[in-house]
Symmetry: C2
Subunit: 229 residues, 2 copies
DNA sequence: CCAAAAGTGTTGCTAATACACCCATGT
DNA sequence: ACATGGGTGTATTAGCAACACTTTTGG
């Protein structure tokens, strides 16, 4: 390993794929670019990493600055280092993967701002740079991850019905699940607990609401328990 | 996203965690540093990314230059972007994860070179930088990955006995497996095929050798087959 | 003939699947 | 009373785990 002060350096950026769950769709948060290149094109929220912040911090900062998104589940996804991914010059980006509760008013507010929007996965506009590839990889990761880690709850409000939870899995996995089997399995894991609340404002029997119990999960995870849908 | 020619930039590096399977141990390839910082300390093979190569290419190049390792299974692992991971200045590294066949003479040759060596995972020396963390994450990934993807074969010679394969899983997963159940399961996947060769030079009944059939795997993988140990 | 590892089936249990009806609520 | 989704149990099947002895080979 040689030291390299004197060599030209690639710029380092972060980009975030934020997923949100609408009633019937999985959506991605995009921003509209003001500047060239790809002026006016839709793109992932992101930007350059500063020298005085970690890469993780840069992702969190950009998410808040550009999209008003805060306090979401965030994990590193993959780094993209092709030569020509930015037409200006060499930019390597560390992509992140985030799960947001659309019910969160802070995020709702941000979506009202011009140049920010939620797009259904199967109805994305053309994206700037290689952001299409980044989204594709994020979707892959999400689909894989929900099967063995309890991250789905990050997309739901704190209190949710079993039907909502089931629909979440159906949307992400892209296939229907059996209601009775789903409930049996989910409840047998002993990770979500009944609350004394029910759905409001529906014109049919109101569903009981549940919440995810992270403590129980952490306890089980320590003993080698594995979550699986 | 703002453009940033004028700002100072972090240096961008790659580091590789190369795993190899000894008879009884999972080993990691390390090199001994010639230069400060961490002079003479053991470290992962790696180095700075050049402007005219992709990050993936940089990993491959460093692996060959520093350790003589070529034609191995290589995938991106994770990027490490803490502020002080390099005492000289800001360096962000993209870590890679590689699986090598120790039976490969090209790699054996490299291990003879001074300053390069294979170390058992539970007997690693103190490592330079945050390389300890990188190795830890690579081990985690390996343990996860062998369970659902047929990457274990990358650690074995092209022809191997079922006992070798079983031992591989036992070593990586850190637990004993039942011989009959293991063989039943592995064979029922129809991914490895019998050859007409047997083990040589053992002083007991010689085991039949098998080989992994990548074609069969690719065909099955397309139809949503999932490998699972 | 002995030591060492190769090779081979069955059984019980647990988990996954498939499947259909009654219930509670709001309009 | 009707429309809408909420909520519940059972039977079948498939996969996983536990378990011990015989065979082959070299020394």
């Amino acid at each position: 390993m040689t030291f390299s002060y004197e060599y030209p350096r690639a710029a380092l950026a972060v980009d975030c794929v934020v997923f949100g769950l609408d009633v019937t769709d999985l959506k991605v948060l995009l921003i509209q670019r003001k500047l060239t290149p790809f002026q006016h094109a839709w793109a992932l929220p992101g930007g350059f990493v500063h020298m005085d912040e970690t890469v993780d911090d840069a992702a969190r900062r950009e998410l808040e600055e550009e999209a008003g998104v805060k306090d979401v589940y965030l994990e590193q996804l993959y780094s993209f280092g092709a030569l020509d991914r930015d037409p200006r010059e060499r930019v390597v980006t560390v992509a992140y993967f985030a799960l947001a509760k659309l019910s969160d008013h802070r995020i709702r507010a941000a979506t009202d701002a011009m140049g920010v929007g939620w797009f259904a996965l199967d109805d994305l506009p053309k994206l700037a740079f290689d952001h299409q590839d980044i989204v594709a990889r994020a979707v892959e990761r999400l689909r894989g991850k929900v099967r063995y880690a309890p991250v789905g709850f990050e997309l739901l409000p704190p209190r949710f019905s079993l039907t909502q939870l089931q629909r979440l899995y159906e949307i992400i996995l892209g296939k229907e699940l059996d209601k009775r089997n789903f409930r049996k399995k989910i409840l047998s894991m002993d990770l979500i607990v009944e609350t004394d609340e029910v759905e409001q404002g529906v014109r049919h029997r109101a569903a009981r609401l549940y919440r995810f119990d992270r403590r129980k999960y952490d306890r089980l995870a320590k003993h080698g328990f594995s979550f699986g849908i």
